[in-house]
């Protein structure tokens, strides 16, 4: 284990602090978690809650967590990023998790060691990787240079791109066209693009009524809550939202804001391209990707990689089970199953043989009206995957303000569940 001086001093300080309240059991098993999003932060916290004898280090590149769920509202001026932002402080102060703000760059699965960008190497007994997705802008030739990517945004990670897209929409003259391209499934947050279309349409309807939202979907139909979104578009956003299925983006011209599709070219005033995605680079570099050159295969009892021992992978990066969306809520649930399994495995016990998890995804279709999709998933020992429990899935009967209040509450509660 190599230590930078800064980190060595930090560890000494942490050790000194720990010894005041408890004998320093430096010998407990050690878990390192990569990624402080919905999956990783949850796993880190739940391991410490359930097994205080296990040492946990969380490696995260950002100083704060910004939620992607609910961030489409920022585009319509219905929320500020600060409302969706939480710190990692309580993970250290309440759960004694060592939070290291750094990039994880390499995993040595034989030595069981994670290397950070700073050069430090963290040894682990078990590693949990919840790295999210990489947005593959480079697959679109016209987006290979930085200037083009600054003009044609994805805003598929909440943060500076969200604000930049909001500014583009604000400076667009009334009568303009906002075009949103959607990649083929699977991608992060299946209802996300359709919710975004609603949020932009609501903004146009109230502020720039002559403007249009054009959805160019590579898929053959709306990928989530189809009937509800379609109904909302017809009833509330007729003449504003136009939906075009089977519209695969081949290239863009960032200078003229033109989307080049298979059979046509579409010029926009604001062009928002959600590129294809895959498990983040660290997963690829570590040899964890096993499916379609994109996703990480896992054992759904433990979330241990099928390719590498002692490495558990959570969230959007995994090859999902049927009908399991790539959502923050789902990652939070993966985190808890993995936490319990990692504790059991470190103690030489058998992990739970019948895990149950669920999903609830809310989408804002106006300033206050919301729809959801929900499901409960149970382990099927014969198929060795998670399957939707009979009858335990569905969507809203109709959009409602009541569900709007639940959606806001959901955000506060799930962020607290992972970080507070």
């Amino acid at each position: 284990m190599r230590l930078s001086r800064r980190r060595f001093l930090k560890q000494v300080a942490a050790g000194a602090a720990a010894s005041v309240c408890a004998p320093a059991f430096a010998a407990g098993p050690r878990v390192v978690v990569v990624g402080g999003g919905f999956g990783g932060a949850t796993a880190a916290k739940y391991i410490r809650m359930w097994a205080p004898d296990i040492q946990v280090t969380l490696v995260e590149r950002n100083r704060e967590f910004i939620s992607c769920p609910l961030s489409n509202r920022v585009l319509a001026g219905q929320a500020e990023l600060i409302d969706l932002t939480r710190g990692y402080g309580p993970l250290s102060s309440k759960y004694s998790i060592e939070v290291v703000y750094d990039d994880a760059v390499a995993i040595d699965s034989d030595k069981r060691e994670l290397t950070l960008d700073s050069g430090d190497a963290l040894p682990y007994d078990r590693l949990i990787v919840s790295p999210g997705v990489d947005v593959l802008s480079d697959e679109i030739p016209g987006l290979r240079d930085l200037a083009a990517r600054e003009r044609v945004l994805h805003a598929w990670r909440a943060g500076p791109q969200t604000m930049a897209l909001k500014r583009q929409l604000e400076s667009m003259p009334d009568g303009g066209v906002y075009a949103l391209t959607i990649p083929k499934s699977p991608y992060r947050c299946p209802p996300g693009p359709y919710e975004r279309a609603c949020q932009v349409a609501w903004y146009f309807k109230t502020q720039k009524p002559k403007s249009k939202v054009l959805i160019l979907d590579a898929n053959d139909k709306v990928q989530s809550k189809e009937a509800l979104f379609t109904k909302v578009w017809k009833e509330w956003y007729e003449g504003i939202i136009e939906y075009r299925p089977n519209s695969t983006l081949l290239d863009v011209d960032a200078k003229t804001l033109t989307a080049k599709l298979e059979f046509e070219e579409v010029k926009a005033d604001v062009l928002n391209v959600v590129p294809p995605q895959r498990a983040a680079k660290i997963a690829a570099d570590a040899g964890l990707i096993t499916a379609n050159n994109k996703w990480v295969g896992v054992d759904f009892l433990t979330y241990e990689s099928v390719a590498r021992k002692n490495i558990h992978v959570l969230g959007d990066a995994i090859l999902a089970a049927p009908a399991m969306p790539k959502s923050g809520h789902m990652a939070n649930q993966h985190g808890k199953v993995a936490a319990a399994a990692v504790i059991a495995l470190l103690r030489g016990e058998s992990p739970n043989s019948s895990p149950v998890i669920n999903n609830t995804c809310y989408s804002f279709v106006s300033d206050k009206q919301v729809i959801h999709v929900a499901s409960v998933h149970r382990y099927d020992p014969e198929k060795r995957t998670m399957v939707v429990a009979p009858g335990a899935s569905g969507v809203s009967a109709a959009p409602s303000e009541l569900e709007g209040t639940y959606a806001e509450s959901w955000g506060k509660n799930i962020w607290a569940d992972m970080l507070a």
Binding site: A27, Q333, T360, S375, S409, N413, A416
Partner: protein, 104 residues
């Protein structure tokens, strides 16, 4: 040296105690199942905002509510869908667990 030995012995004892202390299999199963609910209902069932807090509710009340959600006889936006995913026995376990959580 003697001092060192006794420290090691004490630490070993404490470590053994720490390992002997973990939750029983039943407790582990209950907390894992209950962790399904806390994504929406908040840590230990303590919700902020419009989603009802479930920490510290009466056991029988939770069972009745969940059974009615499951049967579709209780007004719901989402719980009628979730409730169908859990067995009667699991509902009992969840009710027991959340009835014992402290309301904050």
């Amino acid at each position: 040296m003697k001092h060192q030995t006794s420290t090691v012995a004490a630490l070993t004892l404490l470590a053994a105690f720490a390992y002997a202390y973990p939750a029983s299999g039943q407790e582990q199963a209950a907390r894992s199942l209950a962790a399904n609910c806390t994504g929406c209902h908040g840590p230990s069932g303590n919700s902020s905002g419009a989603i009802p807090a479930i920490a510290g509710l009466e056991r029988a009340y939770i069972v009745t509510a969940m059974q009615e959600f499951k049967a579709g006889t209780r007004q719901a936006t989402v719980m009628h869908q979730h409730a169908k995913g859990y067995s009667d026995q699991e509902i009992e376990i969840l009710a027991e667990y959340f009835s014992k959580q402290k309301r904050q």
